[in-house]
């Protein structure tokens, strides 16, 4: 069944500043559905004046908002939660239309986003401090958590709805005001979210959205009234731009970068359950996520296991249904745009040039439903990949599986740890001992045990290590509460 598209016509996306929908004076670009190649909206690349206006509005709203009780703030979030549930299907389809992912993937993204709103609804307890009576006779000491002011949230293209929600609900729940910059490639679900925020009754200026590109990012980084930035994107930008400049300007920072995740398969794994997990990990979201499997590491010298496992992986991958994500039968959508597809194709070519064995060529594929093949690519599988090859070491951000073989678990862990990234490595095994050893030693912020996409639920931090994360505290849950608040220690004595 093909589901109806929620976006019709070609709407012009506006900025949401101080509770008003404002048309930008910046350059206007097309938002293109990568599956149909149709222009579905126009998005502005906002100016410095516009980001300044949003920060000014957020700053002006802050004093009142921080004095709004946590209970009253949580009621706004409860209303937002209800509204997002009510519009669950609509916002999911918007994501598919603007990004290209399958409807199951979009609904998954919607759910995870709402989950963060739900968690932030508990702010009256989450934000509590702690105390100790009689630190010395007659003297008590306690900690209170206070908001800082204005935060900037900079989002990538791959999860247009969910990623801003890793931070935004916690920021506003703790009494801060925010300015979100969605990816200009996929601004529509954030626009719909801002409409729901408005309907939920957040005061003007608390939640602002400014569309655009580098000018908006620079405007946030340079603005003295922005106290911190939550960013998700590539490692070079996270490390060399966001983290560095936040350091220079004294801002708090969460900078989540890229990844090269290792899926380690032990011969004692449950093959039946592991194969679908591999498909989701490597080819889900068309490989465009920082938790995607990139290198499949088969452990052991048992050729029989290796051959049967890889044959099964190749067989299932070769039958993946590719097409427009609003077709419910589709298992993999397009890449976000043709430039991203071209980049992945270059990686495939480099794999061939560097001597890897091409088992499944994603450049040959069939698109269900007769859509233009402009942004589509099939799953690609390479064998005999080594860590010095580009496809074995760099982030591809596409549906490419690089298979490596190692003799034992030690070698697998060393291989994973030698890679500069450390986001979401996983082991597939029925041995608790192996699983524990892997968990203990592997240097990645998220670790999967028989789980191929190690996406933490909203109560837990979305972690990351090495070149995958720059900062200290993470998005989601308690760590987000700490990121968006300052601890104030009070020592009191009464005469």
């Amino acid at each position: 069944m093909i589901l109806e598209e929620p976006i019709t016509g070609v709407p012009l996306v506006k900025n949401y500043i101080n509770g008003e929908w404002v048309e930008s004076k910046g350059e206007i670009r097309d938002v293109v559905n990568p599956a149909t190649c149709q222009t579905i909206a126009k998005v502005p690349i906002s100016t410095k004046e516009e980001i300044d206006a949003a920060v000014e509005a957020a700053k002006a709203a802050f004093p009142d908002w921080r004095r709004t009780t946590p209970l009253a703030r949580s009621r706004c979030l409860f209303r937002l939660k209800e509204l997002t549930e009510e519009h669950f299907e609509e916002v999911s389809r918007i994501q598919t239309q603007e990004h290209g992912k399958t409807i199951d993937e979009s609904r998954g993204e919607t759910r995870r986003g709402i989950e963060n709103v739900e968690v932030a609804c508990g702010i009256p307890t989450l934000m509590m401090g702690y105390n100790l009576e009689d630190i010395a006779t007659g003297i008590d000491e306690y900690v209170i958590r206070q908001p800082l002011g204005v935060f900037g949230i900079i989002a990538p293209f791959n999860f247009p709805w969910m990623i801003p929600l890793w931070s935004a609900p916690y920021a506003v729940a703790t009494g801060n005001c925010i300015v979100i910059k969605p990816s200009s490639e996929v601004p529509l679900s954030q626009m719909r979210l801002a409409e729901l925020v408005e309907e939920a009754g957040f005061p003007p200026g608390v939640w602002n959205v400014v569309n655009g590109g580098r000018t908006v990012v620079d405007g946030m980084l340079d603005h003295p009234d922005i106290r911190g930035i939550a960013f998700v994107g590539s490692t070079p930008t996270a490390r060399d731009v966001i983290y560095k400049r936040c350091g220079e300007t004294g801002k708090r920072v969460i900078a989540q970068g890229g990844a090269k995740n290792f899926m380690v398969v032990m011969p004692d794994c449950d093959v039946r359950a592991t194969i679908p997990a591999m498909m989701t990990s490597f080819f889900g979201n068309t490989g465009q996520r920082c938790l995607s499997g990139a290198n499949l590491v088969i452990v052991g010298e048992d050729d029989g296991f290796y051959n049967s496992f890889i044959d099964a992986v190749v067989d299932v991958a070769s039958k993946i249904i590719i097409g427009y994500g609003l077709d419910e039968s589709v298992q993999m959508g397009p890449l976000r745009d043709k430039e991203k597809k071209a980049k992945v194709v270059r990686y495939i070519e480099s794999g061939i040039e560097e001597g890897a064995k091409l088992r499944l060529d994603g450049r040959k594929f069939k698109v269900t439903g007769g859509y233009p093949d402009t942004c589509f690519l099939g799953p690609t599988i390479f064998e005999n990949v080594t860590p010095d090859m580009k496809i074995g070491s760099e982030e591809i951000f596409g549906p490419v599986m690089s298979i490596m073989r190692v003799k034992d678990l030690d070698e697998a862990i060393e291989l994973a740890n030698a890679n500069p990234f450390g986001n979401g490595n996983a082991i597939f095994t029925s041995s608790g001992k192996n699983a524990r050893e892997f968990q203990y030693r592997v240097t990645s912020g998220n670790v999967g045990i028989n789980v191929g996409i190690v996406a933490p639920i909203a109560f837990f931090p979305f972690s990351g290590m090495k070149d995958s994360f720059f900062g200290i505290l993470h998005t989601q849950g308690q760590e987000a509460i700490r990121f968006f608040t300052e601890s104030k220690v009070v020592i009191q004595r009464w005469f």
């Binding site: 759910r111 999860f159 997990a277 298992q331 996406a455």
Partner: protein, 142 residues
């Protein structure tokens, strides 16, 4: 075409529930002796849809295998919901039992395939499969 994604399986399950609800509503109009049971089945079907949706929309996240959890051949579970004008009460009950057997099998198979991949969804499917099995006993007793 095989149903492999959670979305397509949920839609298929909903269509089975809707079709079989209509079937039972039709039986209730034609056969007064089983009216209460048939209507209760039709009503339960609506609750089943709600349970399936609650399970699916409640657990679907970016971490689970929504696009690769099933391998359902819909033709194998197609149900016949039309009944000849001259069909007796006994014929109707026989048709209903066959329908329940097929739908029950669909839920059991779907639960088995997605076991450990789709969190609460297989559990919801198993509960509905159990309800469908109980219906068979009830239909046989009529």
């Amino acid at each position: 075409m095989k149903l492999q994604t959670a979305s397509s399986v949920i839609s298929f399950a909903k269509s089975l529930e809707t079709e079989s609800a209509k079937f039972y509503e039709g039986l209730a109009q034609r056969y007064a002796q089983g009216k209460d049971v048939f209507l209760s089945f039709a009503k339960e079907n609506n609750r089943n849809v709600a349970e399936i949706e609650r399970a699916y929309y409640g657990v679907i996240t970016d971490a689970i295998e929504g696009c690769f959890a099933f391998n359902i051949e819909p033709e194998a579970y197609a149900v016949e919901t039309t009944l000849a004008k001259a069909a007796s009460y006994s014929d109707a009950l026989g048709r209903a039992i066959k329908l329940e057997e097929k739908i029950g099998k669909f839920y059991s198979d779907a639960a088995e395939q997605s076991k450990s991949l789709m969190a609460d969804v297989p559990r919801a499917f198993m509960l509905i499969a159990k309800k469908r099995n109980n219906r068979i006993a009830k239909l046989r007793s009529l």
